[in-house]
Subunit: 238 residues, 2 copies
DNA sequence: ATCATCTTGATTGTCGACAATCGAAAAGAT
DNA sequence: ATCTTTTCGATTGTCGACAATCAAGATGAT
């Protein structure tokens, strides 16, 4: 076996999986607005697939929390409230803390290189100033840390939650506001892991995700307040 | 609205959901052995459903980790190794710790009653001596604690993991061995929650689930060792 | 006898058609 | 005018048939 073997795994993936992937991308990128309606037939036409196949893809996304199913009525892109954000933050914090602890336990040269590469990518993205790149790099670094934990199931559960969290970030300004500090924040996160400081890694991970979670929740509450106010303004004259 | 409304929700559930539920029961109860093969047509005949519907049910169980899909080949009941048990234990510990903390934060009279009822059920089951009842009561108490956290998503993720953990317990002797101490162990778990001791609840939950996790892993390693030895005995003469 | 190749049976992957159900608009009663 | 009932269009729920793929046994060469 040569190094070539890593090049092309011709990716023979079933159509429903492919459709799910495509849809997931459209949702987390914000191209499909939260709460918007999805119908099997329309999607089937767009993808050039049968309804059954599209249906399987939708089911997949339901288990990931990106789509909600309303029996005999339709499918909606998930619309997440501030309360949902709190749920997700708590979960994410817990899983990342676990990942950091496990990662610090089993850190080695290869793992260190992977983290440093992801961190470097984040630094570049931060200088670049493009928001979506920054978000990608941010999530990429976290995902690298989770992968380092060596716990496959942890990775699966984390992915579900991270994708939902990403719904908020898609087109919000939360990230931009914190862009200047994002690099040093993440340095604090990875430093104890790289040093193999198990307890420190867990604490740092908790601090990191709690902070970003609180920021998202605060942002959403603010946005929700504005919306209610503007509704009141309209309603009052009536 | 009267109290009657709570009586009959005529359970109009889609057939694939029903089939998934039935299959899940058969798997976690041990009626379907780990690693055994499942074919869509056979299941479709048994359930009196079409293949597509059965397929949807199987997909559901795949996302729950109870079934694995082998493309163009078949579906297997998940077969879990000692390594899988370690993964699951780590995850479960993390989620239960979170649940305990959140539960201790928001404990109230109703929540206290729910926990005490579940604990009482566990005590009765322990005196009764019937293993499956004890397992049910054990899992029921933990599930009550998770529900008390008020975090719906936490509940969903926990259920997935708990069901997989149950695969091990199905017909093993792990539970029996520890039956005598099970009641006091769980008292230590719920006591800080009932008192609203947030930090104590988290610590107790970690201690509790780490212990039971370690016991399961140890049991599986022992079983695995026996199996390898017996294989060697057979192989040696050849 | 051993290995490579081919064939074949079994199983999933995908599709289009029909049935069940829901929600909203239309029709009717008061 | 308001409320109830009915109708109807749209959408999902379910099904059976055909195509693609795989794994193991049969076949043949060496």
């Amino acid at each position: 076996m040569t190094g070539l073997s890593a090049l092309k795994a011709p990716k023979k993936v079933s159509l429903d999986r492919a459709a799910a992937e495509s849809l997931r991308g459209a949702i987390v990128s914000g191209a499909l607005e939260q709460g918007s309606r999805l119908t099997e037939v329309k999607l089937a036409e767009q993808f050039g697939l049968s309804r059954g196949t599209v249906r399987a893809a939708l089911q997949r996304l339901v288990t990931e929390g990106l789509v909600v199913q309303r029996p005999y009525s339709g499918w909606d892109v998930a619309a997440l409230s501030a309360e949902d954000a709190e749920e997700l933050s708590a979960l994410r914090s817990s899983l990342e803390a676990l990942a950091a602890r496990l990662g610090a336990e089993r850190i080695d040269a290869a793992g260190g290189r992977a983290i440093e590469a992801a961190f470097e990518a984040l630094r570049v993205a931060a200088e670049n100033g493009r928001v979506d790149e920054l978000v990608d790099a941010d999530m990429g670094l976290h995902r690298t840390l989770v992968a380092l934990s060596g716990n496959r199931r942890l990775g699966e559960h984390y992915d579900m939650i991270a994708n939902q969290v990403r719904l908020y970030i898609a087109s919000s300004t939360v990230v931009v506001k914190n862009a200047p500090t994002v690099v040093e924040r993440h340095f604090d996160l990875i430093d104890p892991v790289l040093r193999g400081d198990v307890a420190g890694a867990e604490i740092a991970a908790k601090a990191h995700s709690m902070r970003s979670g609180a920021e998202i929740v605060a942002y959403l509450r603010e946005k929700g307040r504005e919306k209610t106010e503007s509704l009141l303004e309209i309603r009052t004259p009536l």
